[in-house]
């Protein structure tokens, strides 16, 4: 199975394996110009790579990847950061109803929301 990592970090390395890494701009939701650039970059990556599954760990690039990924028929999985222990992130709320699977790393948050799953935490 081929894997492509997408990151906002300049010269980021794949966390494992010899897979290629694409870079996108970071975007604040208050900067429409950044959001549009990010959408173009992500659309280019998705159209070239044609992923069958998209797994995101969050933030604006993940939201865009999941929205656009639905358009190309990808299965989409959202894993919210373990940092969000009191409520899920804004970006997790933005992919509600879009991502096929949404996971929190906190059992008490999964209990409060039927649409949130829990399979454990990184720590």
């Amino acid at each position: 199975m081929d894997v492509r990592f997408v990151t906002t970090i300049r010269r980021g390395n794949a966390p494992f394996g010899n897979y290629s890494v694409a870079r996108v701009t970071d975007a604040s939701t208050r900067r429409l110009d950044q959001v549009l650039l990010l959408m173009f970059q992500m659309a280019g990556i998705l159209l070239r790579f044609r992923p069958s599954v998209i797994v995101s760990t969050g933030a604006a690039p993940g939201v865009i990847a999941i929205w656009l990924g639905r358009l190309i028929g990808a299965r989409t999985i959202w894993i919210d950061s373990i940092a969000n222990s009191e409520k899920v992130s804004l970006s997790a709320r933005l992919v509600a109803g879009q991502a096929h699977v949404r996971l929190t790393q906190w059992p008490h948050l999964a209990e409060q929301d039927d649409d949130l799953g829990y399979i454990g935490a990184v720590l």
């Binding site: 970090i9 300049r10 010269r11 797994v55 999985i77 894993i79 940092a83 009191e86 399979i119 720590l123």
Partner: protein, 158 residues
């Protein structure tokens, strides 16, 4: 060597300034800092707005102490290296982040071996006054627990 990192997305002038003041007063010329978009210009810290991932990882290994904002990535990386880390949460009321989730993160790590929480500048100075005695914890694995990755694999292949 001490490594200070405040992330690359938002400034954290309060922590950068406090570390710079401490390094100057104590004659520490061995503090390397990744200060992101912070606007305060350090005098004593060896400061970079951004360090390439390879260089940053080498510094993480070399440092005897990490100091950072209460970002989960920073804390997990220090724990993976088994290094002591001082974390200062960004304060929403001071405009240091978009919400107060770093306070919650910092509170969660009270009492975790190797993780030393500083809420205020005074807390930070107290921890740094005995810097040689800040111990690290046992290194943690750099991958998630097997049960979680197995469950994720099933969701991916579903």
């Amino acid at each position: 060597m001490i490594l200070l990192a405040v992330g690359t997305q938002l400034p954290f002038d309060r922590l950068v300034r406090a570390m710079d003041d401490w390094a100057r007063v104590n004659g520490r010329s061995d503090v390397v800092a990744q200060i992101g978009s912070s606007t305060y210009r350090p005098h004593t810290l060896k400061a970079f707005s951004f360090l390439e991932p390879d260089a940053f990882q080498a510094l993480q290994s070399e440092a005897s102490l990490h100091v950072s904002h209460a970002g989960m990535g920073s804390i997990l990386q220090a724990m993976e290296h088994g290094k002591p880390i001082i974390v200062m949460p960004r304060d929403f009321s001071r405009g240091e982040h978009r919400n107060d989730h770093q306070m919650a993160t910092a509170r969660r790590f009270y009492g975790t071996p190797g993780v030393h929480v500083a809420i205020t500048d005074e807390d930070l100075r107290t921890l740094l006054s005995d810097v040689g005695r800040l111990g690290g914890g046992q290194p943690i694995p750099s991958v998630a627990p097997r049960a979680m990755t197995d469950a994720l694999r099933r969701l991916i292949l579903d």
